[in-house]
């Protein structure tokens, strides 16, 4: 259950829109189903009042949308950012991906978002959801109303939330939190401790499900290239659809590598994956390696920081030594 309510956000959006601070509002609207929330741009008070929604399924990270939207727009756009979104926001600013002057950012405290897959695993035939203080009450086709605890459907990325601190905003709604000493690397460490054969089997099982829908790339706030290498016939790795099994593999390695040092660990890739591949485990591996090899680094914690892969020290460890380090951990 979110402490900030839909009504509060609508009031804020309408206020900023009507006093001319912003000319558009980036927000959420209902999709086909109650749990199926879609990002939308609102430009009138009426649209907002009719369609704007905010609930536990509003997990989408809006930072990325600013890249395209600020270019097209006259005036400012209002964006609502959850704490993890603020990191992406900063990272994009570091990379000069949008004009800060054209954005009015409102940071909102977050209680953690729900994972629709977890919910669907619990209940079938969801008609609508009522968000009460104690739990969500799901009206279903077959079993009547089912009570579901928020904790039981909390998304993985929110269970392992790295920070409830909002690192960028023009205005803050709700309470600012702290950076959390999370257990987000435990799963990576568990994989590292496996034998290579076990790891291989694990990833073979996961990646085999990939259908190359590109959702991970399209949702990722670090993937904002003007032209993606996978779409560029001159890049040498262009493949919009996989021609063979290996290219699948290439896609995920290259994508993870491209965002290494820039990924804020917002978890959008795993959220949007229709095949539920734990893609965040690839990104977290890079983050964990970077933290251990080159010192703690959180992309997006501040604007203008130097990403670890465009930096060096003379005493860096040798490529052959990353394994020894891993072995010690194991």
């Amino acid at each position: 259950m979110q402490k900030i309510t839909r009504d509060q956000l609508i009031t804020k959006a309408v206020e900023l829109l009507s006093n001319g601070t912003v000319s558009a509002v980036l927000g959420w609207q209902k999709g086909e189903f109650d749990y199926d929330i879609t990002p939308a741009v609102f430009t009138t008070e009426e649209e907002i009042k009719n369609n704007f929604v905010y609930n536990d399924f509003c997990g989408a990270n809006f930072s990325k949308y600013l890249v395209a939207k600020t270019k097209k727009l006259e005036g400012k756009i209002l964006v609502f950012l959850k704490p993890c979104d603020t990191y992406s926001f900063n990272q994009l600013l570091t990379e000069h991906r949008f004009d800060r002057e054209k954005v009015y950012a409102v940071a909102i405290g977050c209680e953690g978002m729900a994972d629709v897959v977890k919910l669907k695993n619990k209940v079938d035939g969801i008609i609508s959801i009522d968000y009460k203080d104690d739990a969500m009450y799901v009206d279903t086709l077959y079993d009547g109303t089912v009570k579901v605890d928020y904790a039981d459907v909390l998304a993985e990325r929110c269970i392992n939330c790295k920070s409830k601190k909002c690192v960028a905003y023009d205005e803050l709604m709700g309470e600012d939190g702290e950076v959390i000493d999370s257990a987000r690397f435990d799963e990576v460490a568990r994989l590292e401790a496996m034998t290579p054969d076990e790891r291989f089997a694990f990833w073979q099982n996961e990646l085999s499900r990939c259908i190359r829908c590109n959702a991970c790339r399209d949702a990722c706030p670090a993937c904002t290239c003007e032209k993606c290498v996978f779409d560029n016939p001159n890049s040498g790795v262009e493949n919009k659809a996989p021609a063979n099994s290996f290219e699948e593999q290439m896609f995920h390695i290259i994508r993870a590598y491209h965002v290494a040092g820039r990924c804020t660990d917002c978890g959008e890739c795993s959220r949007v994956c229709p095949q539920n591949i734990p893609l965040h485990l690839l990104n977290r591996k890079f983050i964990k390696d970077i933290n251990e090899c080159y010192g703690e680094y959180q992309a997006g914690a501040e604007v203008g920081s130097r990403a670890p892969l465009v930096d060096y020290t003379e005493g860096d460890l040798e490529p052959g030594e990353v394994f020894e380090r891993g072995d010690n951990n194991a």
Partner: protein, 664 residues
Amino acid sequence: MQRIGVFVCWCGSNIAGTVDVKAVAEALKAEPGVVYSTDYQYMCSQAGQNLIIDAVKEHNLTGLVICSCSPRMHEATFRKTAAAAGLNPYMVEIANIREQCSWVHKEMPVGTEKAIILGKAAVAKVNLNTPLTPGESPVTKRALVIGGGIAGIQTALDIADAGFPVDIVETKPTIGGKMAQLDKTFPTLDCAACILTPKMVDVAQHEKIRIFSYSEVTDVKGFVGNFDVTIKKKARFVDETKCTGCGDCVDKCPMKKNPNEFNMGMDNRSAIYIPFAQAVPKVATIDAGACTMLKKGKCGLCSKVCGAGAIDYTQKDEFIEEKYGAIVVATGFNPISMDKFDEYAYNQSKDVITSLEFERLTNAAGPTQGKLLRPSDGKHPHKIVFVQCVGSRCAACAEKGKEYCSKICCMYTAKHAMLTRDKYPDTEVYVFYIDVRTPGKNFDEFYRRAVEEYGVNYIKGMVGKIVPEGDVLKVQASDLISNKQLHIDADLVVLAAAIEPDKSARPLATMLTASMDTNDFFTEAHPKLRPVESPTAGVFLSGACQGPKDIPETVSQAGAAASKVIGLLCKDKLTGNPCIASANEMMCNGCSSCERVCPYGAITYSDKEFRMPDRTTQIRRVASVNPAVCQGCGACTVACPSGAMDLRGFANNQIMAEVDAICK
């Protein structure tokens, strides 16, 4: 589609001995784009080049693949050939089938198979080559010489005589280097000072030469023709422009007990000092670690006696920034430390000395005014043992000695032995040697004279240990020819210590991005054909910083380096390497990743307006590369997430094509 010609060189039997060149030419005929393929004995010969030119004309070739020796050897040659045939020189690719194929593989089928694959990779690359035109950059017509020994002096004089301004940076208070410390020089026995000091005066008086003594280079930026160098002039607490070098301050200074570096610590100097009488610049320097005025604020005598008012206790290190077109490294050498050679008792007895100390002992300006006296008791030694190869040719322990031959020791030891016998015929002189190495004009004759005319005892064998006992040194050695172990009671032992590059060379090499070998000698661009150039363009090597050298060799290398520098400075513009990075603005995200990794600061960003497909305009921040500054490393191409940054001549798709051709 390209029309590619493939030319397979036999290189006599160098390639044809292990690679079936005809089969290679035949196999490559089938590759896409290839319209002509042939083989020839020596492609690099005039006849071979003519063959290429004719083929280009006859078959309308647009690209060339030469299967031959390393591109490091003849890429430039074949690019010129292409230009002569009317092609863009960068439409040539070399498949290295000699150094990386025929010379490392023994069996014909293996070598042939690999040569074909290497050829295929080159063909795949040429298919994607585009004509490239080099950019131009201006040349700053001033040279920097780092090191003021005989190498630096000669280089500076030669460059300056050609009319270009030269700056010499020397860490010591005076130029002159090791040669200034020597007594006589082999094989003619000229007095070192008599031939060096006039040159030092020439340097001082040359209107084109500036001397930064007591200074060091702290930063080097830029590239050939355009180096930006920061020089630190260390505070010497004496105003160089006022000091007349009269020496009154030196006489009056009460702090007289400081080891005199110039005399290898065998006597003392005062805290304010002029290293030696002919020093250039002849200016006093205060040793800040020894001066009580600087340490405790008490004394100030030198300031009081200085008629010129040159003493300035408040002087600070000064940083000078200057632009240079070329840099010559002449950092020279030092004898290695004898601390690890316990067997020779260097640290136990004052009468075990190094050869450089011996030079000072026999030098008329040295601590004994040229009289050969034992450092311990000032008595005349009657039995002297010289030990050769101390620390040279020592492969057993890298911390102790050097694996290489120090080259100069055989000759100077012969000189020392001869001069000793000449001045003091009552002295017995023994030289223990492993080999006597005397290649050089009049060198062997010189050594033989020492033996035949002067009666020096040359003994084939090494000294095993030296034990000081009473006032003699018990020397135990082997005489391999007579198969005996010798025991000699010597009065003085002289160790021919190995030489090593100056310690300043390593950090300097890093600043210059010039490469070094494992012994910290600078690497030359080519060991035979480009011996005075560093692989880093615009950086030249002079003297012992490149390898052990005697004076005649050093001077000739100094002159050679100077002529290379003059050749560079004569040019008004340099044509750059066209294989540089460039950004595709349509794909650039403006993320600054490339800017952060560029070691040359060649990348800048600006906002540009773009017309979009939907007829709107967009302002985007995009990267651009300064072609005069970019050196073509390619760091930016990998840092770029979108692949907007690419490297001409080594483009993403070209390297991918090579990978594909090899992995096919």
